[in-house]
């Protein structure tokens, strides 16, 4: 067993995904099957091997910090679900 129902609840909370009781049961079973398959990579000896984060080697890419126009404010607001004056309205934090 790789993952328990409590752990599924915990990662759902971390990912801000709401689950029903039934989903918690189903995901626990499914995730164990999938993680079991993932752990196949344990068979590979990776001692002294570096990580590859990208398909190609990329170093920091810099550019000049020149001023250029950004998108018009009203264009951005078109996709904002809730707005008050020139502010994006968000739920209460605390």
């Amino acid at each position: 067993m790789h993952i328990t129902k409590d752990q599924v609840e915990h990662i759902a909370w971390l990912a801000r995904i709401k689950l029903t009781e039934e989903e918690k049961e189903n995901y626990t079973k499914l995730f164990n099957d999938i993680l079991d398959y993932f752990r196949k990579i344990d068979e590979v000896d990776t001692s002294n091997i570096d990580y590859t984060f990208h398909g190609v080697d990329i170093k920091n890419v810099f550019r000049d910090d020149t001023i250029r126009p950004s998108l018009p404010k009203e264009d951005i607001f078109k996709n904002v679900p809730k707005r008050k004056d020139n502010f994006v309205k968000a739920p209460r934090m605390v």
Binding site: A12, A15, I17, F53, N79, V80, P81, P91
Partner: protein
């Protein structure tokens, strides 16, 4: 004579240039076709008929009155719905982005428009590009033009089906773990994933940044080369794009392929591979052999670990990328105003479908304290070893060859309830994404009327070589010229 909509971009380009056809006539021809077949195929989420006609008229005027003749002047193109198009709804096939209208164009869209291309619609896909069948779309199931009971492949299933059904001339897709090549294989068309960093991802709605590339889905290799001429290049808006010298991919198509060496990993022809598929692939190998290409059966043992390695990385990156969907600045937001941030945040995210939720949660797990080393970091090390094994083979071989998919298309509904079985079918495609190598899929046969795809993987930045071999293959075969039996 073939109808206009049946032709390739390359053929239409000279017809448009000679004045044998106008851009407006071509658009009408295509939309007539779409009207006849789209109710069966359901490739599009959004069709832009009025927009396209207006653009075609403007372009016809411009072509008459100036010297402008862009590479794509007057050529219709369909765009996968995870690529941002200014003032055109871009949904990612998700309820989460049902009402999202981007205020800007992806760099690839700017490039297409600058060459005179005409966007005719946005195509269906797996939600957030997470799938192999296009069945996880919030909107509709796309049907394979070769058999309506079968899936078109995924995640760029709408783009592939539209090309195969002659509902567009060209299409764009994106490929994170095979999402261009799988549907190209299933729909009997040509599709390429280029070397990582060759095409800008700016404006591509992110799923797994280190793996994905935008790319062409086309009727043949020549159109693929033509579209790559427009798409490939450095973009200041995507710092992962490479500074590649300007390449004319059409110019070298004709060059000889004699003496090239091909390696065929036995891991690509394993037990999960359907007999008809391996037979078609071997026939293709023997045909290539008759052009003076040599081959050896080889082994790249880590291919057997590519699928878990890929899914751990892809899900980890997805969990981070999709954290941005909080329903505050854009996307789905529940009506109620009461309640605190986390509660509303979690309710907004119910707009994600089941596969997206699964991948976010598994990715969150793989990155969480105590498991990070075991899954994510371990996968990144396996990735290094897989790259090393491919690199070692490229010392002896120019191309690694195998099937694109281990089977012909699945029946609709056959895979969707068993995610793990579906993940395993990505066995032949994911290695190219994990390693960043270029790979092309071309038609190489049929089994019971369903298409089979041949995959060629090249060394980094060797797209020209892949295209050349694929082009030679298409000159000597007519699989890619076969049309699906959908009538219309």
């Amino acid at each position: 004579m073939a109808s206009f909509y049946e032709l390739t971009a390359y053929e239409l380009h000279s017809m448009l240039q000679n004045g044998d056809i106008t851009a407006e006539e071509l658009i009408y021809s295509l939309f007539d076709r779409i009207q006849k077949t789209e109710t069966k195929i359901k490739a599009y989420i959004t069709l832009l008929k009025e927009n396209a006609i207006n653009q075609a008229r403007l372009l016809d005027k411009k072509l008459r009155n100036s010297n402008f003749f862009g590479i794509l002047a007057g050529i219709p193109i369909a765009i996968k719905d995870n690529i941002c198009t200014k003032n055109i709804r871009t949904t990612c096939s998700s309820k989460m982005l049902d009402n999202y209208v981007p205020p800007y164009n992806a760099t690839v869209i700017e490039r297409i428009l600058a060459e005179g291309g005409i966007i005719i619609g946005k195509t269906n896909m797996d939600e957030f590009a997470m799938g192999t069948t296009t069945e996880s779309s919030y909107y509709q199931i796309t049907h394979n033009p070769w058999s309506l009971e079968h899936v078109p492949g995924g995640s760029s299933g709408g783009s592939a089906a539209a090309v195969a059904a002659d509902e567009t001339i060209l299409a764009l897709g994106s490929d994170t773990g095979g999402s261009i090549r799988c549907p190209a294989s299933f729909c009997n068309i040509t599709g390429i994933k280029v070397s990582y960093g060759s095409i800008s991802r700016y404006g591509l709605i992110s799923y797994a940044c280190s793996l994905e590339q935008i790319g062409p889905l086309t009727k043949d290799v020549r159109d693929c080369a033509l579209l790559l001429n427009v798409l490939v290049g450095r973009d200041p808006y995507d710092s992962t794009t490479l500074n590649r010298p300007k390449i004319d991919f059409l110019a070298t198509l004709d060059e000889d392929i004699k003496g090239l060496r091909i390696g065929i990993p036995k891991e690509f022809m394993g037990t999960g591979t359907a007999e008809a598929v391996s037979k078609a692939v071997w026939n293709a190998v023997h045909l290539l052999e008759s052009f003076g290409v040599t081959y050896d059966e080889i082994s790249i043992p880590l291919i057997d670990y590519a699928v878990p390695c890929y899914y751990i990385i892809a899900m980890s990156e997805a969990s981070s990328n999709l954290a941005r969907y909080d329903g505050i600045r854009y996307g789905y937001r529940v009506e109620k105003d009461e309640g605190e941030w986390n509660e509303i945040f979690a309710e907004d995210r119910l707009a994600f479908g089941p596969e997206v939720r699964r991948r976010i949660m598994l990715g969150t797990y793989a990155l969480s304290a105590g498991y990070y080393d075991m899954y994510y970091l371990k996968a990144l090390k396996v990735r290094t070893l897989l790259r090393n094994q491919f690199e070692a083979q490229f010392k002896s071989y120019d191309i690694i060859l195998g099937p694109t998919m281990p089977t012909t298309p699945f029946k609709i509904g056959e895979m969707i309830s068993d995610p793990l079985a579906m993940y395993r079918t990505d066995i032949d495609t994911v290695a190219a994404n994990v390693t960043g190598l270029p790979a092309i899929s071309i038609p190489c046969g049929f089994s019971d009327g369903l298409p089979i795809g041949l995959q060629l993987i090249g060394n980094s930045l060797q797209e020209e070589l892949l295209l050349r071999v694929a082009y030679k293959f298409q000159q000597e075969t007519d699989y890619h010229k076969k049309k699906p039996p959908i009538g219309g």
